[in-house]
Symmetry: C2
Subunit: 154 residues, 2 copies
């Protein structure tokens, strides 16, 4: 177990982390993680500098890593939906080399649009860094929706 | 050779069909089609009722069919770009069962958004039907860009 992830930290009780755990649990089709705690489930997303060093710079992402990237953007998409009350649709294209693009659309508005690269190294220095990143993307998205509400409502 | 595709028909000289041929040729990494005419290259996209009947209702699309679907939307994307002078980016997600979604974005505006299904049966009754469909999608996209030019310019 990674020291960076602490079971009862206040962060575990935030909207984003709760949604992230839900998204990760949704990946667990066979119930292998049933007895696992939220912290254990999020643990693979935390890449401390030591852990990151162990991952080769060039590599192909495995299914599980790709699923985690999806979980991250799905969680953001769900929070956007919750905040603005309109349907948000995530869409991700990823080559087997770990390059790609993710967008989230609300109506006819693109509220998130990112290039993905080095997906085999996807992770964050800590859970709070992950939450910061998600919050940033979320607030940009919500600001766009506020400014272009007509397009988002199409 | 399909009777529905005629080499020197006036339609072969339209912007869309020319772009479509270019997109199809781009798929030909090994130069197998080098000696082929435009009509021969487009021929697999034409599904006459008789030919459609031969394709099972349920089936998985092969690589080539998926590439043709991509070529079709890439061609539309290129024409959007040409007409409006802004970069248009196509993005397609397709499951191996032939279901998926395609979007084209211009700036932060979604100018085309379609669900894909039964991709293994992708094709048109004739080249002119294909062109009609593309023209329709193109004009809807350009109208959106005209109406929400600010979002398209983001």
């Amino acid at each position: 177990m990674n020291d960076a992830v602490v079971e009862n930290a206040p962060i575990m009780d935030t909207d984003f982390i709760r949604e992230m755990v839900r998204q990760m649990r949704a990946l667990d089709s066979y119930g292998v993680w049933e007895g696992k705690s939220a912290a254990e489930i999020l643990e693979p997303l935390v890449l401390t500098p030591e852990r990151k060093k162990e991952i080769p710079v060039v590599g192909d992402p495995d299914e599980e890593t790709m699923a985690r990237v999806k979980a991250f953007y799905n969680a953001i998409s769900t929070l956007i939906e919750k905040e603005c009350g309109l349907m948000a649709v995530p869409m991700m294209v990823l080559s087997h080399e770990g390059f790609g693009r993710v967008v989230i659309t609300v109506g006819k508005l693109v509220v998130l649009d990112r290039s993905l690269r080095d997906v085999h190294r996807f992770g964050f220095a800590s859970l709070s860094k992950m939450k910061d990143e998600a919050d940033k993307l979320l607030s940009v998205a919500l600001e766009l929706i506020g400014t272009y509400s007509k397009v988002a409502g199409l």
